[in-house]
């Protein structure tokens, strides 16, 4: 069944290509229209339909659909951009609908839904970044630092906990970055402990001045 459908679409698209070469745009369009209704998930069908579409709006819609189905389809980005430019010359209005790592979906002033390629590498937004493995160790480290600032006694207890945490997490660390981070936390916790001992002694002698 699937194979039969595939053959039918291929034939329709071949027919459309032939009509296009002969300059019979209307017939080519009709073949593409049939192809997109038979196989709505076929990017080639949408792309070819855009070539013979009677209006800019439809051309845009077809290109946009083709792009969302296969963003690596050759020449599609340039043609999509050119079609959008024509549309924006007529009506420079675009409203945001949603976006993915690869494209924006926007609504034009004439209520067309268009997918626009982003053309750039994807970076996870700061607020959506998952906390790293070393985060609990860093949290203990900041508490130990606070303990150091507040008289050192807190740091005497918290710095060893931090060191222990970093060593415990070390066994779970897969990436080199996490391993380095945890060693850094360990080293800093030792430094904090070294500083906290004399400072907490200075605090304790205030309780027992004699």
């Amino acid at each position: 069944m699937q194979k039969k459908l595939q053959t039918e679409v291929t034939e329709l698209l071949e027919e459309a290509r032939r009509f296009t070469q002969q300059g019979k745009r209307e017939k080519a369009y009709r073949s593409c229209l049939k192809a997109t209704s038979v196989a709505p998930n076929e990017p080639r069908a949408w792309y070819l339909r855009s070539q013979s579409a009677p209006s800019t709006e439809e051309q845009l819609m077809c290109l946009s659909r083709a792009y969302s189905l296969d963003s690596s389809y050759p020449d599609i980005k340039q043609e999509l951009r050119a079609a959008i430019q024509i549309l924006l010359k007529q009506e420079p209005f675009l409203a945001y609908v949603y976006e993915t790592a690869e494209f924006y979906q926007v609504r034009s002033g004439r209520d067309l839904l268009i997918n626009i390629p982003k053309n750039r590498s994807f970076e996870i937004p700061y607020l959506k970044k998952a906390p790293g493995l070393a985060k609990p160790a860093f949290r203990w480290l900041s508490l130990a630092l606070l303990g150091l600032l507040l008289g050192g006694v807190g740091a005497v207890f918290l710095a060893p906990i931090t060191a222990f945490q970093s060593l415990r997490l070390q066994s779970l660390a897969r990436s080199r970055g996490d391993q380095v981070r945890l060693w850094v936390v360990f080293t800093l916790s030792v430094i904090i402990l070294m500083a906290a001992i004399p400072i907490s002694w200075l605090l304790l002698i205030r309780f027992f001045p004699s």
Partner: protein, 751 residues
């Protein structure tokens, strides 16, 4: 010994700064011999002053040797600086280091009860961080004024034959009046560059009447100009700019950002694009210049304040390839922008954030010190305050996001991070520098608190107010202020009066920066400051109303200063009063500038184009109030607890303070007069033996004087054997509770 070393280094520091103020910008040569002579001259002159006053020969020789060797090290490291710069930097480091050590010893070994000690320790850390930040400012100032050899500073670029890549200029706009945008676009139409396009991206402007006319303007200016309105667009300005990148001509290699209110010179592109012939150069920045009204103090000082960044900070950063991409009047390589994933839509200073990510990839940046256009400054103080809040908030966001990339271990965590040590230093200091204003407010709080306890004669003590703790910070304050004024005068070519006005313009925004720092730490997403609304139509009242917090803080400081001096007039309270007036003046500058901004004719044309979540100033200030309340609560706790009875053993490690007579050399000058001990604390116990737990013979009160008959044999923890005034008999008075008048060197040791 430590205290004498500290005073000696402070003398060298002062001599270094003074000689730099005179010769720092004039001496345009680097010469090792001259540097050595300069260093020797400053050291010898300082030594001479010390010998005539407080110094001891052996100590002076020892410290001079250390200072000389340290100076030699910095001469080798800072070979592009002239001699005054190298010497001043050396002396600043020595004095700062010694003062931090002194304050630590004072904190550690003063007889304080436990909560006082914790408070004193926090104060010590605060002081140490502030002094370290002041060092960074000193380095930047000396780096630009005392630098003799520039390696990367350019005023213009040589044209590259046959290289004229296509540039896409993007003009983001939000709620901008069409008249202002039309001027900007008309200036872009006159660019003498063959291949460029202009994309006007209006985002989220609510009214069609505001953005629709842009279409006609673009159509009128020709096919290079494209207009686009984005509706319900997330990510504010950076969200819109990210989308604009998708709409640039595929042939465009370079992207330029132009603010909607900026008029650009015709040579802008033809002069800057040759920089991109080097594929390693990812962005180029030029100074942002503004139109200002000459003779209008607010306008001119604000203008100079803006220029400071581009005349001082950027040249210094540029020498280490660590500049910031400041958005408008900068060009960025499109492929580099795409490589980093576009502008960060979370950060409200997306341009500076992008530059850090680009430098992280190992690209180069370039700063051309020539302005190619002029923009509009905020029309009034309220606008300036909001703008500074936004910049600072963005700076803290960058620090929050990238702090790990700036750490010394960054290369090991992420081998792809190619930031150099200097780049990490500049970005880290740039972010942390904003906190100076938070520390400034905390200092003002401590000073007011100290004054209140003085007036109430409360026994609460955080740290003994020794002569050194009063004199050395004042020396730092005066010398760093002089250095700031000197840099302003030299780099901005302004009169002393205008330099002072510019300095106060900076400080007047301290409150807004403090709020932004705290909000930056506690808020997840970008916010903008909403100043208090007033119901009145009076512009004058509104100007005062938007700076009411600053006015209240300033008035409290000044009032506390007046009261503390009026209730107990002596040189210590005078110093406290002077410091409080200084702090108060920094905050009082805000309402004054706000009132001055009323004189501007353009003030009525103000339009506010803020995007993001609003944070009302009073609500933002609640964090500040909470911190102050917490500190007050801890102080109250201290006052409830008893002060240590007697003198603990550890006080023997306290550094011995110098008396004012010793400092000015009077103690040495009058050897014949009998030395006197004068009580400096509210009350001091006079004991049977030179120990804190010995039997109390009598109590002496503040300012009471007694003749010194002898001393103990511990020079680190002196006790004076005194004749009890008005009564017969003798007793031991602890040195830390009193100051001495006259020569105590010849006093016999009593065992």
């Amino acid at each position: 010994m430590l205290v004498r070393a500290l005073y000696l280094s402070a003398v060298w520091f002062a001599l270094g700064i003074l000689s730099t103020l005179i010769m720092g910008s004039r001496l345009q040569r680097r010469d090792m011999t001259l540097s050595l002579l300069w260093l020797a001259a400053v050291i010898l002159l300082g030594n001479l002053i010390a010998i005539l006053t407080f110094g001891k020969i052996l100590e002076i020789i020892g410290l001079s040797f250390i200072a000389f060797v340290f100076g030699l090290y910095w001469m080798m490291r800072l070979q592009d600086w002239n001699a005054p710069g190298q010497v001043t930097w050396t002396m600043t480091l020595i004095t700062t280091g010694l003062f931090i050590l002194y304050t630590f010893l004072l904190t550690a070994f003063s007889p304080l009860n436990p909560p006082s000690f914790i408070f004193a320790l926090m104060f010590f850390f605060l002081e140490a961080i502030t002094l370290t930040l002041a060092l960074a400012h000193m380095h930047e100032s000396l780096d630009v004024v005392c630098r003799v050899q520039w390696h990367r500073l350019l005023n213009r670029l040589e044209p590259v034959p046959d290289y004229q890549p296509m540039v896409s200029l993007q003009v983001p706009a939000y709620n901008e009046p069409v008249e202002i945008l039309e001027k900007t676009l008309s200036s872009l139409a006159k660019l003498n560059y063959p291949d460029f396009e202009v994309l006007v991206v209006d985002n989220n402007t609510p009214l069609q009447e505001t953005w629709r006319p842009l279409e006609d303007v673009c159509r009128k200016l020709g096919p290079r100009f494209h207009c686009l309105h984005l509706d319900q667009w997330p990510g504010y300005k950076s969200g819109a700019l990210n989308f604009a990148v998708t709409q640039t001509d595929p042939r465009a290699e370079i992207i330029g950002i132009i603010d909607a209110d900026y008029e650009v010179d015709p040579d802008f592109l033809s002069e800057l694009t040759p920089a991109f012939a080097d594929p390693q150069v990812a962005f180029v920045q030029t100074p942002q210049d503004y139109s200002y009204s000459r003779g209008d103090l607010f306008s001119e000082s604000t203008y100079r304040g803006y220029k400071y960044f581009f005349e001082v900070s950027m040249p210094s950063r540029n020498e280490r390839n660590a500049i910031i991409f400041a958005g408008t009047m900068g060009l960025i390589r499109k492929s580099a922008l795409e490589e980093i994933g576009g502008w960060d839509e979370w950060c409200i200073t997306e341009d500076a954030e992008a530059s850090l990510r680009i430098l992280k990839l190992g690209y180069r940046s370039l700063y051309i010190q020539r302005a190619f256009g002029r923009g509009l400054m905020p029309f009034d103080f309220e606008g300036l305050k909001k703008q500074r809040f936004r910049w600072c908030f963005g700076g803290i966001q960058i620090l929050k996001k990238h702090w790990e990339a700036l750490m010394p271990w960054a290369h090991w965590v992420d081998p792809g991070n190619r930031l150099t040590l200097a780049q990490r230093y500049y970005y880290l200091v740039g972010g942390l520098g904003w906190f100076s204003d938070v520390f400034n407010l905390l200092f003002a709080f401590f000073l007011v608190l100290g004054a209140s306890f003085n007036v109430l004669s409360s026994p609460v003590q955080v740290r003994p107010l020794t002569n050194t703790i009063l004199i050395i910070p004042a020396v730092f304050l005066v010398l760093h202020s002089m250095r700031f004024l000197w840099v302003l005068r030299n780099r901005l070519r302004v009169s002393l009066f205008m330099a002072v006005a510019t300095m106060y313009n900076f400080f007047s925004l301290g409150w807004a920066v403090t709020l932004a720092c705290i909000q930056g730490l506690v808020q997840k997403e970008g916010v903008f400051l909403r100043t208090p609304k007033s119901n009145t139509t009076s512009r004058m009242w509104h100007a005062i109303h938007v700076t009411e917090s600053e006015a209240v803080i300033g008035l409290i400081c000044m009032l506390a200063g007046c009261v503390v001096f009026a209730t107990d007039s002596n040189w210590r309270t005078f110093s406290l009063c002077a410091l409080l007036f200084w702090q108060g003046s920094l905050y009082m500058a805000a309402p004054i500038y706000s009132l001055l901004s009323l004189n501007r004719k353009t003030a009525q044309a103000t339009h506010i184009a803020e995007q993001g979540k609003p944070v009302v100033e009073q609500r933002a200030a609640r964090w500040v109030v909470a911190i102050c309340m917490l500190l007050m609560a801890v102080f109250s706790l201290i006052s409830l607890l008893p002060a240590p009875s007697g003198l603990p053993d550890y006080v023997r490690f306290l550094p011995i303070d110098l008396t004012t007579q010793q400092l000015v050399g009077q103690a040495r000058a009058s050897p014949a007069s009998a030395p006197i001990a004068k009580v400096t604390v509210e009350s001091a116990n006079c004991r049977a033996k030179p120990r804190g737990n010995a039997e109390r013979i009598t109590i002496l009160y503040k300012d009471e004087e007694a003749q010194i008959l002898g001393r103990n044999d511990d020079p680190n923890n002196p006790w004076w054997y005194i004749k009890i005034p008005r009564l017969s008999g003798n007793c031991w008075l602890w040195g830390m509770t009193s100051t001495t008048i006259g020569n105590v060197d010849e006093v016999p040791v009593i065992r």
